[in-house]
């Protein structure tokens, strides 16, 4: 979490508030289809490569139809990459069983599973990011609550989201002050850190108290009311049905392989 993170949250919020056919879909539909997507992608065996490629259609289509800039999703994808990359890189090192490719080339099985991990990573992360970017946090929370998320947690998510900016600003001001006083030098000792972050904590708690009083004055009773129709419409059902059918199709038949065979004329 840094300055750039705070800005990223802000941009995400802007995209979440756009209007497009994808934004107009019910949050529940999008959340369920996205979860089904991720589960399908992750259910492939570990060496699978080509059968995964048709699944890129889902994030691509969602991004295209929602008007969220693809560069934004791509950048976040690259920022998040190191962890999967690090663990995945052990595969080529440890799994050295040769697998034969075209023209007699042999490659360690680990490279295939590494490639598979990278594909899975790109698919799952872009799907999750797109879900939020074309739904928006408040609509997503309301949708999840209707799907059975405990109310306390839904309210907690909304509160957390609302106050990230406020408290982060506070922390940024403190950090800037500290950098000025220490001429931009090294990080503070644990003792100084304790008092700095302790102050941040006390300020945050005071703010919570003020928020609570303000909310009581406005009639807060522990609920966050939302203005959203509870019914699913035609487009929602078509969206869910269409994509789920596609996932099943692409899971059962290797579409890429079939297309390749059709074009190269190789008979199985």
């Amino acid at each position: 979490m840094g300055v750039s993170h705070s800005a990223a949250v802000h941009r995400m919020e802007i995209f979440g508030g756009l209007d497009s056919p994808m934004h107009r879909l019910d949050a529940r539909t999008k959340a369920l289809v996205t979860v089904a997507f991720i589960a399908t992608v992750m259910s492939f065996p570990r060496y699978e490569l080509s059968a995964l490629t048709p699944f890129f259609l889902y994030p691509f289509a969602l991004v295209a139809l929602s008007g969220v800039p693809p560069g934004f999703i791509l950048k976040k994808l690259l920022i998040a990459a190191p962890f999967a990359l690090c663990i995945g890189l052990f595969n080529p090192l440890l799994d050295r069983q040769p697998v034969f490719l075209a023209g007699g080339f042999a490659v360690a099985g680990g490279w295939l599973s590494f490639g598979s991990i990278l594909l899975r990573f790109a698919l799952t992360v872009s799907a999750a990011l797109t879900l939020l970017a074309c739904t928006g946090m408040s609509r997503l929370c309301a949708g999840l609550e209707r799907l059975g998320l405990p109310k306390v947690l839904a309210v907690q998510l909304l509160f957390l989201y609302r106050y990230i900016f406020v408290i982060a600003d506070e922390a940024l001001r403190m950090r800037r002050g500290l950098e000025l006083r220490s001429s931009g030098g090294r990080s503070p000792s644990p003792r100084v850190y304790g008092s700095l972050v302790g102050h941040l904590l006390l300020r945050a708690m005071d703010r919570a108290q003020r928020i609570y009083s303000a909310m009581l004055a406005r009639g807060f009773n522990g609920d966050m009311p939302t203005l959203q129709p509870a019914r699913l419409h035609g487009p929602d059902i078509a969206f869910a049905g269409g994509w789920l059918a596609f996932f099943v199709l692409a899971r059962c038949w290797n579409l890429a392989d079939h297309l390749g065979r059709l074009l190269t004329g190789v008979r199985p």
Binding site: L49, F60, A64, L65, P150, L153, L160, Y163, G198, I211
Partner: protein, 336 residues
């Protein structure tokens, strides 16, 4: 130690989702029963505080490096286990959604690894007895240090188990464990340092701020039905989903046997085999996935090479097609 979706199988992800969801439901009910509206904004703001506190680093004495607060333990100390678990879950959800720090399928694992151990193990069983009333600063310091280290060690071990069970990474169990535990020992010490530094300051500046955790959630909800339900759902989800997944059922069974030291899964083995047989029969392209690169298959017949080429060509083409469809859709959208 946020786990990514790319390393998790649906069976493991689903089972951990079920476990975390059950615990979240229990915590939610308990917090609601507390009937203390004050807790609602407090939890939200403290979640935001965890994000903000991670912007400020401190230098670790006697090393050249710096660290920052993780958050699980301090939340448990401030809010008590149930409310803290909810806050940790919300922080992890926001991280997953906004920063792709850990994925959606892995969210259940992450909530469990980073929330359950600090809130329900390290805080009640280590921090509270060791720290006593919190008046003795040295005791509180030691308590936070031990609790943070133990919480992170348990979490790291859990990451290793879940990764091994998923069978997507080729890292063997022991190697991964040897890799993770020492790293998280260091992270645990940093976490303990940061937690005590902040708690010690608050205890001096405003001791009453630390008293929220005690009384607010005194009313109890019996955990037994929740636990039973949890166990049932976990077994069910694990069993059903692994039918779809079973990338490496042997790995899973092997680790369970290794960890528990007994054949607890024996009862299920027959069913599992049956399901595996069904799966083999229903698989459309059984030898496509390069699963067995056994020597006799290495004699590359033209058919095999051809199929690989076909897969390669098809894969690239489909990727291009998907991109084209996306491009076309966005063009159409702009035209409208």
């Amino acid at each position: 130690m946020h786990m990514a979706d790319a390393l998790i199988s649906p069976a493991v992800g689903g089972a951990m989702w079920a476990a975390s969801a059950g615990l979240l439901g229990y915590c939610g009910r308990k917090v609601r029963l507390a009937l203390d509206d004050r807790l609602v904004p407090m939890m939200g703001v403290l979640g935001a505080f965890i994000f903000a506190a991670q912007m400020i680093n401190f230098s670790i004495p006697a090393t050249g490096s710096s660290g920052h607060l993780g958050g699980g333990l301090i939340l448990a100390i401030l809010l008590g286990p149930e409310a803290a678990f909810l806050v940790i879950a919300s922080v992890l959800t926001v991280q997953a959604l906004f920063f792709a720090d850990g994925g959606l399928l892995a969210l259940g694992c992450n909530i469990w690894n980073l929330g359950f151990y600090p809130a329900f193990i390290a805080y009640p069983f280590i921090y509270r007895p060791l720290a006593g009333g919190g008046s003795n600063r040295k005791r509180a310091w030691i308590a936070a240090m031990v609790a943070a280290v133990v919480g992170l060690q348990l979490g790291a071990a859990s990451v290793v188990l879940e990764t091994t069970w998923s069978g997507i990474s080729a890292l063997p169990f022991a190697t991964f464990l040897l890799l993770m535990q020492p790293i998280h020992l260091a992270i645990g010490v940093v976490e303990g340092l940061a937690t005590t530094a902040v708690i010690a300051f608050v205890a001096r500046a405003r001791p009453e701020a630390l008293e929220m955790s005690g009384g607010a959630l005194a009313k109890s909800v019996s955990p037994r039905p929740v636990l039973t339900g949890l166990l049932l759902v976990t077994v069910l989800v694990g069993g059903v989903l692994s039918w779809f997944a079973s990338t490496q059922p042997d790995g899973l069974e092997w680790s369970i046997a290794k960890v528990t030291g007994q054949g607890e899964v024996e009862a299920g083995a027959g069913l599992h085999e049956e399901l595996a047989k069904i799966q083999e029969k229903t698989a459309f392209l059984p030898d496509y996935g390069f699963k067995t690169a056994a020597p006799e298959k290495a004699t590359d017949s033209t058919g095999r090479v051809g199929r690989t080429v076909a897969g390669l060509v098809g894969g690239l083409l489909v990727l291009a097609l998907a991109g084209l469809v996306g491009y076309g859709l966005s063009k159409r959208r702009r035209a409208v």
